[in-house]
């Protein structure tokens, strides 16, 4: 299949025939130096000269897309890679259901598509910026390598979105592509577009929680864009999802290994009470109640990313065939939703109640529910680690209304169990439910780099298997230049 071959003739590896598309090639070549500057200034701080054992896609099909080898990050082969075109693909939902998928942007949907692509695109460099100092405190070379893999792939996802902007949105696409390199996470004047992406990622536990909870929102969004009637968007997001799975892996196993280590340390020291926090922390591991608080924080921030409970934007994007539901093609209904309803949690007369809403305007909530189900399973697997270690503790996801900024519960105060409370009560209990500055300081105190191959910081267990089947003491990052 022609479009599974990646062309390296041009500066930008691609499987979209860039060498024959002079206009877009020129636009991307013009954008490229700005990207490299951005990477050098805002990408991982230090380590730009280190050889990192990274996965690079050299093709979008089976054997081609996961080639492992040492590479210096600024020389990573970022490129434009789309999943192979499905012949005669039709739109599977909305008012254009059954029509041939669009290869060009329909004029009437230009604005809404551009907005979706820009929002998705903005999150990619944002997370690289948020994580740029983490390399300096990596708990192992293995973890450092995983961080950098996440970072270069977020960089590639930016490329994916920028290609769509440059290719299909002419001058305003070019403008948006440039803006993506100008906004900065946490910058007061030019912040990133979504709130969560302006928060700090101050330590590795935050990074793992972020990749588990916040990147999972990204996965859900990509899944629904993969259904899009705009075929280039569908194809590019389908390929991005293959890479996104690694980010889920880093988050889930990262937190899992922290849990594992804590339970082991408790067992070794004969501590059975998970709330014996001082004694547990004295072992140099992160107590389970603090992990619960971190989960509460990152989960609630991530729920905000799904937007308002009732959204006409979401309804319009669906009816237009631009953004589908999670696993749209596996859902057994009419894929129009004109007459359907969907249960939504809302505030009515000062109470949290379930209300049947129009299924179209409730699409954000449906995606959020799919997200919650997906995240819960991961939490269930964390609990299995705790159970297996024989420690009596269970991590739980807090109530949807807990600690929210956006939507129905933005102005309410709620306990993790879902009980509405006063602001005073919330502030009083805040440090029981969310990480306090002391918790943050304790976690920070553990963040010392470990850079000997095969060694791990005391607060995290080694992984069960290496990346690409590599042995335990494999040197995933060669820190000194030209070490060979």
């Amino acid at each position: 299949m022609e479009n599974s071959q990646v062309n390296y003739d041009t500066l930008i590896p691609n499987n979209v025939g860039l060498s024959e598309d002079r206009r877009v090639l020129k636009a991307l070549e013009k954008w490229h130096p700005g990207y490299i500057d951005w990477w050098k200034n805002m990408g991982p701080n230090g380590f730009q000269e280190s050889q990192v054992y990274l996965r690079t896609a050299v093709g979008v099909e089976k054997n081609g897309w996961a080639q492992f080898g040492y590479v210096k990050m600024p020389e990573y082969r970022w490129g434009v890679l789309l999943a192979p075109q499905v012949e005669n693909r039709t739109i599977s939902f909305g008012n254009h259901k059954g029509e041939a998928a669009w290869q060009e942007v329909p004029g009437e949907y230009r604005a809404i598509l551009r907005r979706l692509i820009v929002i998705q695109g903005d999150t990619e460099p944002a997370s690289v910026e948020q994580q740029r100092y983490l390399g300096q405190t990596a708990p192992s070379l293995y973890d450092m390598r995983n961080l950098f893999q996440v970072n270069v792939e977020e960089g590639r996802h930016l490329w994916a979105m920028v290609y769509l902007l440059q290719k299909y949105f002419a001058a305003d696409g070019r403008e948006e592509a440039n803006m993506l390199l100008q906004r900065r996470s946490g910058d007061i004047d030019k912040p990133r577009m979504l709130g969560t992406f302006n928060e700090e990622t101050p330590d590795w536990l935050s990074f793992f929680m972020f990749t588990f909870f916040t990147d999972r929102d990204g996965k859900m969004q990509l899944e629904s864009l993969a259904q899009s009637g705009f075929d280039p968007l569908s194809r590019t997001t389908r390929f991005m999802l293959m890479e996104e799975a690694h980010h889920m892996f880093v988050g889930e196993t990262g937190v899992g290994r922290v849990i594992q280590r804590t339970c082991e340390a408790m067992n070794e020291a004969g501590i059975t009470d998970p709330y014996d926090i001082d004694r547990i922390r004295a072992l140099g591991v992160i107590d389970l109640p603090t992990l619960q608080k971190k989960a509460n924080l990152h989960y609630s921030l991530s729920l905000d990313l799904f937007g308002s409970e009732i959204s006409t934007n979401a309804a319009n994007a669906y009816s237009a065939g631009i953004k589908g539901r999670y696993n749209e093609e596996k859902i057994d209904d009419d894929h129009l939703l004109h007459n359907d309803s969907y249960p939504v949690l809302k505030m009515v007369d000062g109470k949290i109640v379930t209300v049947q809403e129009n299924a179209l305007t409730a699409l954000n909530m449906r995606l959020r529910d799919d997200y919650i189900a997906d995240a819960s399973k991961g939490v269930g697997r964390w609990n299995k680690i705790i159970q297996k270690a024989g420690v009596e503790f269970e991590l739980v996801l807090p109530h949807t209304a807990f600690h929210r900024e956006i939507g129905e519960f933005g102005n309410t105060f709620c306990s993790p169990e879902g009980e509405l409370i006063s602001e005073d009560t919330f502030q009083e209990r805040r440090n029981d439910w969310l990480p306090s500055s002391d918790d943050g300081a304790f976690i920070q105190s553990l963040m010392h780099p470990v850079t000997a191959p095969g060694e791990y910081a005391g607060w995290i267990a080694p992984p069960r298997i290496g990346i690409d089947q590599q042995p335990g003491d494999f040197e995933y990052v060669q820190l000194d230049e030209a070490s060979a």
Binding site: K62, N63, A66, A245, M248, E252, T253, K377, Q469, A484
Partner: protein, 395 residues
Amino acid sequence: MDSLLKQHLIDPEICIRCYTCEETCPIDAITHNDDNVVVDADKCNYCMDCIAPCPTGSIDNWRLVTKSYSIEQQFEWQELPDQEDLGDADSGALNEALDKEISDLLEHAHSGTGGKPIAPESAAQPSINLYSTSKPAIATVQGNYRLTDEDAPTDVRHLILNFGETVFPILEGQSIGVVPPTNNTSGANPIRLYSVSSPRDGEKQNANNIALTVKREEHGACSNYLCNLTKGDLVEVSGPFGGTFLMPNDPNSNIIMICTGTGSAPFRAFTERRRRAAPGAPGKLMLFFGARTPAELPYFGPLNKLSSDLLEKHLVFSRLENEPKEYVQDRMTAHAEAICTLLKNEKTHMYICGLKGMEQGVEDALEEACFHHSLTWSDVKQNMRSSGRYHVETY
């Protein structure tokens, strides 16, 4: 033993349920319920498409079973079951090959290693025994070229086999098995193993084909059968076999290769793999290759064209007119210093492949070289072997 099955399984303790494998599987052999993602043994054809996209490595688990685990059983698992005790059926099977006949052949070929052969740490995970003599893969002959000069006394052939749609994942250093058909009643011919001389992504890149280097032996049923094949003929192939004589993936690895005759096959594969996957790699490739004359040295022409940056070549001839006889061990002695410098490096791997007769000479040369460079060969060898860096395959 035919009832033994190599079953593909997913480790539920490591899997993060991203379903990437399920999306990737071209024949829908992977499915999931609320708990686990599982592989249907009745459907899986070992195509390995799911292996690379898995972010966790949980996908790469295998058990030898007499009866496969059903998907319902797998749905219930909290963790992978241990490998069941196969009793007599298990003869180091998981390591090199399932059939006793073949693992015996490999054991004999590897006996010069001086202990249990161990795969290099950074070698890729090999697939073994996907096809057996009773259930072979069918390959089509794509080409059969004589490598030695027309008037040379030996006839060595470069044979290209194409697997078409059949999945046949094979790594450099692994072998395939061929049983020549019988046309009389004297009973079945014994199986013969041939090391592939092409890299893992095909003789032609991404073209599901392999190359073999076959020397026509007088009265050799299998070698004559193979050497006489012509384009379009069909061949029954079993394998892949071998799980230790593999090349390291780490581009920092130095690889010293010592061979005679068709023993060059795996080294052609190693070199081509390095050329394709890691050109300019920091690790050094060094080849000592002996033949009687250039006319009898397989791949003499192509070898000479390879850049010395990629491969340091020592082509050694024992029957050149007006020249003293030179054997690989003589050339090794002449380069003892370079060899010993590499031997002191923990990233150096050594491979010896060819006729059993070459082992002693090479062994003596290494012993002497080490002696003159403050090393003790027996210690070096033992250390290299136990860390998967010393390999012998002779016959």
